[in-house]
Symmetry: C2
Subunit: 96 residues, 2 copies
DNA sequence: ATAGTATTTAGATAGTTGTCTAAATGTCGA
DNA sequence: TCGACATTTAGACAACTATCTAAATACTAT
């Protein structure tokens, strides 16, 4: 997981909103598009950035593409954030 | 605390490094400058952004300016991050 | 006051980013 | 295969950002 790409991904409000939306459950690009006032092309751009950061997974289902959170990476991100921002971080394991 | 300013502040690697440096303890602008390969002017710019986000405090001491983490805001930021990224967030208090 | 040190502000610039429109790709059903 | 639908890719553009140099401000000591 590349730190920089994750932080960059989270720096945009639309992307954070997408994340919150997906926390409720997976959704197709089209379903997400209905909730945002930007073009589908722009949204697609955001998906790419988040995929590159490892935050999202995509999976084609017929003509639709379903996006969902990559929960395992989200856990890592949480730890990363806590490390940066000061808390002791709920260490689950010692090393690997 | 303005969400967007905080996330933006954290999106830059130099600023995150400054944060880590200050976690070890307060430092003057000059002391910090010695650890980074950019000009003091650029560093000052970063300080401004982090101050605006509420992450840093500054305090003049003679000709030096001492920077330190604003720990209370850092706690809020941690909660913010966890909220976004999925963990239940160690809720300390109910409302105020 | 003056000189010296620490830091910031101002202004410029190259690179990055979010958005758009238009075109391309992929998939399904007839 | 054809047309319709869902989504992405390509290319362009304005706005933003990290950095720089040069100049200004703030403080200390002589």
């Amino acid at each position: 997981m590349a730190q920089q790409s994750v932080f960059k991904a989270l720096a945009d409000p639309t992307r954070r909103e997408i994340l919150r939306e997906l926390k409720k459950g997976s959704a197709t690009a089209g379903e997400l598009a209905e909730k945002f006032p930007i073009t589908r092309a722009s949204l697609s751009h955001h998906f790419n950035i988040m995929k590159a950061a490892g935050l999202l997974r995509d999976q084609r289902r017929g003509q639709h593409i379903v996006y969902s959170l990559n929960t395992s990476v989200m856990e890592e991100v949480a730890a990363l954030m806590l490390d940066l921002v000061g808390k002791p971080a709920s260490r689950r394991r010692k090393k690997t």
